[in-house]
Assembly symmetry: C2
Homo-oligomer: 436 residues x 2
């Protein structure tokens, strides 16, 4: 399949050609073959006129728990302890693979319609998630979020569910769909496991050259309890075990210390900023300007929608760009272009993927926004409009790996009616009984 986009206005995230105005982008198979001003030669299966559209690399949601879509808004308005223990955990205990498939497809629909082409997901029933993502057409790094509450001396990978799940996921899915699915090693968090699991995960990741996905210093108490228990911060503690040998995606990093930032830069650890979730759960405001200053790669995530409650990355982009200005008092903190980089090229780097940039050779993850809507008029500056004025709902086309999966409100890989019936007819009654 060869596709030509013409009359392209784009923010490319490619330093060699940052903006295109009335240019061309050509796609061959799953890759971008060309981005520039000369009309590419040859025949195309489809030519897409991009007049009155804005093109951007598909967005990378670098921290998600996508099946939690089913819990959107559930138990909202409570304090954290009540919310987790009386609502979220009991509901999650009732999940089965069919629920997870429905919740994943629902979350992916929302993500696709708002411009996401690649996700970094940590959850349970991950093989079900993998199949659902494969069918939907996006790319995903998937991980099991290893937890181990037993005594360190009792640990055995043979009896640890998350070790076995990680092995099965890797064996069955790593690299599936020509790299569409990648499997990462993962520790849920410091406070939900201990040394032997961390060592196993680090060793397993080294053995198979896997990425790493961990929750880090999300809340003050988590960060301070770790310091008290181990005399080290979570970032430094995991470093001792070799968890960061190939970098990693460290979700949240709200409370990381200055020393952590140095180590993160040195080890190529990405801080995945989830500003909406961090505000909603009252976790605090990550020190993003300092992370950037320290040279740390910063990406963006929505987290699960039970604590957001939206999968629209354009909300995170805008929030990341305004929040740190307001909190620091510096109107230059986190520029529009920096926020866009977090949601595209920086996310790709975190996931070890060759996407997030519109340039020849990159994966053809491409979105178009409808620039004729009143909220995008006028356009004095492309990046400013994309960050502060665009909404996920302005996305009118989503191409993932060279395939159009969403166009003008129509999902081309998901059956929305069937999906709604599955969510409302099976998943919700299964989890919540007849009361919901």
């Amino acid at each position: 399949m060869r596709v030509l986009f013409e009359h392209v206005t784009a923010l490319t995230m490619d330093p060699a050609l940052p903006e295109l105005k009335n240019g061309f982008v050509a796609v061959e198979g799953a890759k971008i073959a060309y981005a520039g001003y000369a009309r590419p030669a040859g025949e195309f299966d489809r030519v897409i006129d991009c007049t009155n559209k804005i093109m951007l690399p598909g967005l990378v949601n670098a921290h998600t728990h996508v099946p939690m879509s089913l819990l959107r808004g559930y138990g909202g308005g409570c304090d954290l302890h009540t919310w987790l223990n009386q609502y979220i955990f009991p509901a999650e205990a009732k999940l089965d693979p069919r629920c997870v498939a429905a919740g994943t497809a629902l979350g992916l629909a929302e993500m696709i319609a708002s411009g996401t082409t690649c996700i970094n997901d940590m959850y349970m029933y991950t093989e079900t998630i993998a199949q659902t993502v494969l069918d939907a057409g996006l790319s995903a790094n998937l991980s099991c979020g290893g937890v181990y509450f037993g005594a360190p001396e009792d640990f055995s990978p043979e009896t640890c569910n998350d070790c076995q799940n990680t092995k099965a996921l890797r064996e069955n899915w790593h690299g599936a769909g020509d790299g569409q699915i990648l499997v990462d090693a993962s520790i849920h968090a410091e406070y939900t496991s201990n040394g032997p699991l961390w060592q196993w995960v680090a060793d397993y990741a080294r053995q198979y050259n896997l990425g790493m996905h961990v929750h880090i210093s999300e809340t003050r108490s988590e960060h301070e309890n770790c310091l008290q228990k181990y005399g080290k911060t979570p970032i430094a503690l995991f470093d001792q075990y070799g968890v960061w040998e190939r970098g990693g995606a460290a979700a949240h990093c709200v409370w990381v210390a200055d020393n952590d930032m140095e180590l993160m830069e040195k080890r190529s650890i990405t801080a995945v900023h989830n500003p909406m979730s961090n505000l909603k759960l009252a976790s605090g405001v990550a020190r993003v300007p300092q992370l950037l200053e320290a040279g740390v790669n910063v990406a963006l995530g929505t987290d699960g929608v039970a604590s957001n409650n939206s999968h629209d990355l354009f909300e995170e982009i805008k929030l990341a760009a305004v929040l740190h200005k307001g909190v620091s008092g510096d109107p230059m903190a986190v520029s529009a272009r920096q926020a866009l980089a977090m949601a595209t090229v920086n996310g790709a780097k975190a996931l070890g993927r060759d996407t997030g940039v519109l340039a020849a050779g990159k994966i053809a993850d491409i979105i178009l926004l409808d620039a004729s809507r009143p909220n995008l008029i006028p356009c004095h500056d492309l990046a400013e409009n994309l960050v502060y004025s665009a909404r996920g709902s302005d996305v009118c086309m989503n191409m993932a790996r060279g395939r159009v999966i969403y166009e003008n409100g129509t999902f081309l890989t998901l059956d929305l009616e069937k999906l709604r019936a599955e969510v409302e007819g099976y998943a919700l009654p299964h989890i919540f009984g007849g009361n919901d």
Copy 2:
């Protein structure tokens, strides 16, 4: 015109009947005739099936400068001083009534499509704004934002432009469209005027029983300079002149003191919270939980889109609900229902208008959201979904004063093509020359 909404799921903001599930709402002329569970008798000109929709009172944007739509994203990425002096002020100096009409219509289109039915606007060429609003069908409180930079002893209302503009606006427009347009008295801010103007505005408002619209304590330096200059905060200073005799809408209130909050409660002054603008301009975070605790009426505004850059009040609702949780560390700070009240009934109170509530006798300002979209599924709680998951783009119908002005993407009072041509063909070249 009699309209019946059936199968209504609604958050009414009426304490007597907070939620409707499969109920009825009837509209007669510009007013709501009924909201409840018994099907109203009689003939209707139109019956609207609200299955898979959510109904909410039309939103009140309690602080705007709507013609600034033309400056959306202009000069973004600069520090405040450069932004104002090198970009915004020179551009505003080139405005003429035709530009203002185009910019107003553009901003109103964006507001209408995202569920706003009533605005509180302060700008120049206000008679042009009045005519544009009247045609578009929303309600508006309009004011001139009085400035006076002369010496106090030289002040005369006869030679002060903003006094003359306020008089003309009141004489020609106050109450127009059966109350659709109301004219407020207004002081732009403490730092852009002095005593004789404040006295004139207070006296004029008293004479004609007008509302009041003022910028208050938006930045730290503004608040502290006022304290230094007058020994009083802006709220207390204006109180001396009788500015707050009939309450008022005090925009921003980021730096108001505890004593100010007491006075605000006593004088029925509304704090109009503009969280996005305050973050983007690095003004800070208003102490909204404390304002609520002090019993102050808190409403929401977008401010002008040059500092936002969006007129979508659903963004402000969500931000108001999450920001104070994150900054205070309290996950219960500003509930979903409190945030919705700010954008509806509290805004109506600030503007002295009988809207913002779905109940018999209220103005028929009503919006419908499409609840079948993936981002609104499932719905465990109506308020949680409306605040944390809904976006302005989910609005599928906007009825203002009993008249449907927007439905399923179509504007019924604005010609979007003509409007774009006017913005791009006249207003932008007029302001920015051929370079933009």
